[in-house]
């Protein structure tokens, strides 16, 4: 995962609430292999077609939307579509929990702002925006707003570390846990006749 410190780029404004992961990538595209073309070409396909969303433009890497962005299905493909298009940060007053977690796994910053600040960013004419993860601020024109992010996620995004490697180093703790657990909860194993 590429570490994230600061990103300056064109801002995509999506003044829509409850943009669910079915909109970020409609289900019918999910049987396509991700490589080599990537899922960016499917991003927001149906909302763009019906005129609710502007077409994402090359060079835009930061997106701002209304509340509950990324709700719904756990499909990580929704984040693949954003990341493959080039997005590195999403800004909203609230996020679907699983989506936000998936963002972090793919180096995309889920930045939580107040409803008022989301509306301010949505109201600014196209200007480059800067997301600064160390300072936890978003700057766009003469507007500078703070954002919230879980401190653990922030550290992971700044460092770009790999969870699985980290966990495999915990093999001794896991072995100690399972030895104790099998004794305490022998009933928890699936019965195999």
């Amino acid at each position: 995962m590429t570490p994230f410190t600061r990103e300056s780029a064109a801002l995509m404004r999506l003044p829509v609430a409850n943009v669910d992961t079915d909109q970020l990538i409609p289900a019918r595209f999910m049987k396509e292999p991700r490589r080599p073309e990537g899922y960016g070409r499917f991003l927001l396909r149906d909302l763009v077609a019906e005129g609710t969303a502007p077409a994402p433009a090359p060079g835009q890497t930061i997106l701002v939307a209304r509340r509950n962005f990324g709700c719904g299905s756990s499909r990580e493909a929704a984040v693949y579509a954003l990341a493959d298009f080039g997005f590195r940060a999403v800004i909203a007053p609230s996020f679907g929990d699983i989506f936000a977690s998936n963002c972090v796994k793919n180096g995309v910053v889920p930045a939580t702002v107040s409803e008022e600040d989301a509306e301010r960013l949505l109201g600014i004419e196209a200007l480059p925006a800067t997301v600064d993860l160390e300072a936890q601020t978003i700057a766009c024109g003469n507007v500078v707003v703070p954002f919230r992010i879980d401190p653990v996620w922030r550290t992971q995004l700044l460092n770009g570390w790999d969870d699985i490697d980290l966990t495999l180093a915990e093999a001794d703790s896991i072995a100690a846990f399972t030895a104790r657990d099998v004794a305490e909860r022998p009933w928890a194993a699936p019965r195999r006749d």
């Binding site: 003044p15 829509v16 609430a17 409850n18 669910d20 079915d22 909109q23 409609p26 289900a27 019918r28 999910m30 049987k31 991700r34 149906d46 909302l47 019906e50 209304r66 509340r67 509950n68 709700c71 719904g72 299905s73 756990s74 499909r75 990580e76 493909a77 609230s94 996020f95 679907g96 929990d97 699983i98 989506f99 977690s101 998936n102 796994k105 793919n106 409803e115 509306e119 879980d150 401190p151 653990v152 550290t155 969870d163 699985i164 966990t167 495999l168 915990e170 703790s173 896991i174 846990f177 657990d181 909860r185 022998p186 009933w187 928890a188 194993a189 699936p190 019965r191 195999r192 006749d193």
Partner: protein, 465 residues
């Protein structure tokens, strides 16, 4: 003396392998279900040359892409066949038990997993599917995860998690006749919003919840994600134990006794602390339907399509305007006058035997005015419904009785609602295009869908009582 603990506190504490300074905990995972969508995660495992740490705790189920017609023959669509075949190959390569396309136990992962007795009180259960919250009905900590986390569980049987906040939703009193778990849950979501429980683990409590069957509790917990919750759960009790006894993978003999002792101690202490409490009165809950494109856009069937111009919150008003346009409705139009083009009974939310019985009870002796499809939650539910004569009621009403899978809830297998058509559906998401591009979905209980089938419009099922 220990400080008071909630059910969720207990579930969390007993699974912590290691606590890190920064607030993350490494949690042990007791059950991991994988479906066709797991191919990204198996790909990640293959890319690093890792193997599955605990294939004995991992179970595969073919559901998202499986055809519901022509079962037993070859899968006609090559790209769909590839999705199903990939799951078979990945599970076989790692020694994982698979409830595959031709297995008599095949079904929707959240129906098969629970009816097989794989989900037990006190367990952690994960799956790369947001409706994994369903399994919380047993008093388990069950939550949906993305592909990267699926790969992490495959490689380590653990997950790094931050403890969610605790939220208790209490529904006290008795519900009126004809009110189901689906009506309770749609009312909860309409009350707290589609992000109302974001960052929270929900515990459902109160006399109206205790009165629900396991099927009802599964419907309730299933839609926790539709309220933004990380998971939803109901403390295990006699209803839970009676449901689990004798299930194929549930413990038996001395282990069964020991398990019951353990489960009896899981419920929240009377003075347990919650970060947030919400209370609803059961008696005021009416048969509920959605009118918009988010599950929070739900109202009693006796209400009318709302008027965005009368809404105080401009963001809500904009969302309502957009939803009403997409749904082809008019502000002020009575919901009980909205004609439907088809019906669907199925999905991990409402496809269990009790759901099919409720729908069949309304349909018995009637002809459906619109076409529709009934997809039972598992192949075993299908068999049981056929034995009970329910399948005949559906087919005699003119509805199509098909095999089990996610089907028209997500449309991945090709079962879709045509563009512009309106579907009364027992599913969980009324998102734009969820049932197919341009499809218009109204969510409701199985009995309400059956009533809509009979009249050809959204209908108050209480008039069939």
């Amino acid at each position: 003396m220990n400080s008071p603990a909630s059910l969720f506190d207990r579930l969390w504490d007993r699974h912590v392998v290691k606590r890190r300074e920064d607030g993350l905990s490494l949690l042990w995972i007791d059950r991991h279900f994988v479906h066709e969508g797991s191919h990204h995660a198996f790909g990640q495992i293959a890319a690093r040359g890792a193997k599955v740490a605990r294939p004995d705790l991992t179970f595969g189920v073919a559901d998202h892409y499986v055809p519901t017609r022509g079962r037993g023959g070859p899968v006609p669509d090559a790209s769909i066949a590839r999705m199903v075949d990939q799951l078979s190959a990945n599970t076989a390569a790692h020694g994982i038990t698979l409830f595959g396309l031709d297995d008599p136990r095949q079904g929707i992962v959240h129906v098969t997993g629970t009816e097989q007795g794989l989900t037990l009180p006190g367990l952690t259960v994960v799956c790369g599917d947001s409706h994994t919250s369903t399994h919380g009905a047993f008093g388990a900590y069950a939550f949906g995860i993305g592909a990267s986390e699926v790969a992490h569980v495959l490689a380590t049987q653990t997950l790094w998690q931050k403890k969610p906040k605790r939220m208790r939703i209490s529904v006290e009193g008795a519900t009126a006749p004809g009110i189901t778990a689906k009506d309770i849950m749609l009312t909860i979501i309409a009350t707290i919003g589609a992000d109302g429980a974001a960052g929270h683990a929900i515990e459902y409590a109160g006399t109206a919840i205790r009165a629900l069957s396991m099927e009802g509790r599964m419907t309730l917990c299933n839609m926790s994600i539709e309220a933004g919750g990380r998971c939803g759960m109901v403390a295990p009790d006699g209803t839970t134990v009676a449901y689990l006894k004798g299930r194929p993978f549930a413990p038996d003999g001395a282990l069964w006794d020991r398990a019951q002792e353990d489960w009896a101690g899981l419920a929240s202490d009377a003075d347990a602390v919650f970060d947030r409490e919400v209370a609803l009165e059961a008696a005021v809950i009416a048969p509920t339907v959605t009118w918009g494109v988010s599950p929070e856009q739900a109202l009693p069937i006796t209400a009318a399509v709302p008027d965005p111009e009368a809404m105080a919150d401009p963001v809500k008003a904009a969302a309502a305007r957009d939803a009403i346009a997409y749904m082809g409705l008019t502000p002020g139009q009575p919901l009980a006058s909205v004609p439907v083009d088809r019906v669907f009974i199925g999905s991990c939310t409402n496809s269990r035997i009790e759901d099919l019985r409720a729908a069949a009870k309304v349909l018995a002796g009637h002809r459906a005015r619109v076409p529709g499809m009934v997809s039972p939650g598992s192949s075993l539910v299908k068999q049981q419904a056929e034995e009970e004569g329910l399948a005949r009621i559906f087919t005699e009403a003119g509805l199509e009785w098909v095999a089990s899978g996610c089907s028209m809830c997500v449309g991945m297998n090709g079962d879709t609602v045509p563009a512009g058509e309106r579907c009364a559906s027992t599913t969980n998401r009324n998102f734009k295009g969820r049932q197919g591009p341009g499809a218009r979905t109204h969510l409701m209980s199985p009995a309400m869908v059956a009533a809509a089938a009979v009249t050809g419009k959204l209908t108050d099922v209480r008039q069939f009582a």
